[in-house]
């Protein structure tokens, strides 16, 4: 039909501009990508490497995996002793199970306290609702350490709660709340309650009230309507809230350290102690690797599956 147009200058300018734009995009990707590779991913490779080293006294406090012998042979020494210790010494297994138990229990308690609160806030009139939400979010912006500390003063043997109960004559021996699992439960629920309430509120607030009205109209009693309509529809919020509480609780160090007893071993605390008290970096690394494989990887997988399911669900809704 037409003769092919000669490649115009204008066309070439446009091509050059497109190339420039593409390289700009590449830069925007490369900078955070490079940063995370160097400062996030590479460190885990090092953790893995050092978990196979052996403890020694010196700087750094571990042996090299790769050494050159006199004959210039490359020798790679992998020490599995750290992992063997995980299996042999029951202390580690107990700490893992403790972490799961305490984190799970606290999550459940937070859900039981948080759900009615989120529901009440979502049903509140507009004005009070903003204030209530503000009150939920506010503790998050204040120091976590300070909030845990507030309970130390309350729960200790000679703390306020015991003093009050003793003087009222309700108990005659101080309760040992701080220094038991209960102290840890209280600390976790207290610290992470806002993380439970916010996602629950977000789903409950979006819930169309006419659905409940329809259920009532069809003869469903309020309590039944809650169980058959509200609760199932708020499941995404329940799952999100539970994940937000459970995940940080499992690896928690500060709360068991300050509010738990000497024997409340959670895995985060074990790792801390191996590192700071025993100065055994290889064992600390091995604990970290096992934690990654047994806790973090399943959680990430779960979240990945969840997020893949979520768009399908939201699309189904009009």
């Amino acid at each position: 039909m037409n003769a092919p147009a000669p490649v115009s200058l204008r066309h070439r300018v446009n091509q050059a501009r497109l190339r420039l734009q593409a390289s700009g995009q590449r830069l925007v990707i490369a900078v955070p990508f490079g940063w995370l590779l160097l400062f996030f991913l590479l460190p885990f490779a090092l953790v893995l490497k050092i978990s196979f080293a052996e403890f020694r006294i010196g700087i750094p406090p571990f042996t090299d995996l790769v050494t050159f012998t006199d004959q210039a042979y490359l020798r790679v020494t992998l020490a599995f002793s750290n992992y063997l210790r995980m299996v042999e010494d029951r202390q580690y297994l107990v700490a893992y199970l403790n972490s799961l138990r305490i984190a799970g229990g606290s999550t459940l308690i937070a859900l039981l306290i948080g759900y009615p609160m989120a529901y009440a806030i979502a049903r509140a009139p507009k004005g009070p609702r903003a204030v209530l939400l503000f009150l939920v979010v506010l503790p998050f912006w204040t120091s976590f350490l300070i909030r845990v500390y507030a309970w130390v003063g309350l729960l200790k043997g000679n703390g306020l709660i015991n003093a009050a109960l003793l003087s009222l004559g309700i108990i005659d021996q101080p309760l040992l709340i701080a220094g038991s699992d209960w102290g840890v439960h209280i600390g976790i629920v207290y610290s992470y309650l806002p993380f439970m309430i916010l996602p629950l509120y977000a789903t409950l607030e979006k819930l169309d009230p006419s659905l409940l009205e329809a259920a009532h109209d069809l003869g469903c009693r309020p309590w039944k309507a809650f169980l058959t309509v509200t609760l199932p529809l708020s499941m995404p919020g329940v799952i999100a809230g539970c994940m937000l509480v459970f995940i940080p609780a499992v690896g928690e160090f500060v709360i068991p350290e300050l509010l738990g007893g000497a024997d409340t071993f959670m895995i985060g605390r074990v790792l801390w102690n191996e590192f700071f008290l025993n100065r055994d970096w290889p064992v600390a690394s091995a604990v970290a690797v096992v934690m990654l494989v047994l806790l973090v990887a399943p959680i990430m997988l779960f979240q990945h599956l969840q997020s893949r399911e979520a768009p399908a669900k939201t699309e189904a809704r009009p």
């Binding site: 037409n2 003769a3 147009a5 000669p6 115009s8 200058l9 204008r10 066309h11 446009n14 091509q15 501009r17 497109l18």
Partner: protein, 388 residues
Amino acid sequence: MPDQTKPATDRPVKHPPDLPGCTKKLGPPIVEIESVVKKFGDFTAVDGVSLDIFEGEFLCLLGGSGCGKTTLLRMMAGFEQPTSGRLLIDGKDMAGVPPYERPVNMMFQSYALFPHMTVEQNIAFGLRQDGMPRAARAKRVAEMLALVELERFALRKPHQLSGGQRQRVALARALAKHPRVLLLDEPLSALDKKLRERTQLDLVNIQERTGITFVVVTHDQEEAMTMADRVAIMDQGWIVQIDAPQAMYEYPNTRFVAEFFGDVNMFEGVLEEDEPDHVRIRSDELPVPIFVGHGISGREGATVWAALRPEKLTLSSEPPNQPHNWAEGVVKDIVYLGSTSTYIVELTSGKRVRSTIANHARDVEWTITWEDRVFVSWTARSPVVVTS
């Protein structure tokens, strides 16, 4: 530097179409689309569209949801690149030309007003990009505000405006640069019915006053009829027919167009006789043949369809005195629409047809009502025969 912008001389000179019943004179083609294809992965959104848009015209791209209207518009604006084919604006090939260098502007379906800028700043945005001096800019913005009657709202932010006001800001912003072509993607779809009808006339007015070429995407057939000089009907990435609204209505070239563009009764039949001055069609749905007063140069024995608009069917209680173009049936429903009424008649063959009668035509003796036996008839000039 050799001038590459001049249209190649070997290209045929294109003449604008005559617009029946319209005093407007169209200029030379301003947008030329040549066999443009757009694929998203395996999916073909625009499938070989060729279309010339002439200077000064008001063109409507009409089609159902997902037929590729927006994609075609976005290719003109430069947000999508054609997979193949050429797109020229003012004779210049637009391949690789980014949106910010094209002499067209777009009004977005969502309006896309800048939420952090006032109405005034929104309208001035495009002028500012061109480096227009402050005084000239202020003057143009004032003109635009006057054009869309928003002078009092100049200092508001978009979220402080009603839907209709936002729509006018979007229009003013797109018009401010005096683009060669204004592209509007479903500009009225977010307005309520009353406002939409008023705004249709406003758009036509503004188009005539400014003389800017308008390309409006819509899925509403009545809207296209009200506003357009020409309508292009799209289906599954194709342009099926392009014509003035009147011609489109009277002479649809396919069943699809006839059914999409207004109400129609469609009779399927076999072409029995095809002479230069008439056509005879035998249909199982009718007791007598259909006789059409012009030839169609089809193959005898082929399956064809006769399309009849409801207002072309007349009802009578006596059998019409003609050997063709009628049928007998029973009135099943009457839909009263104010100025007209539509009668739904079930023919003996079981087919239901619609006949629209102007209510002023029903005199006192009009007695046809539910369950009456009636005769439906039409003249030889009424049917349009389509072969696909």
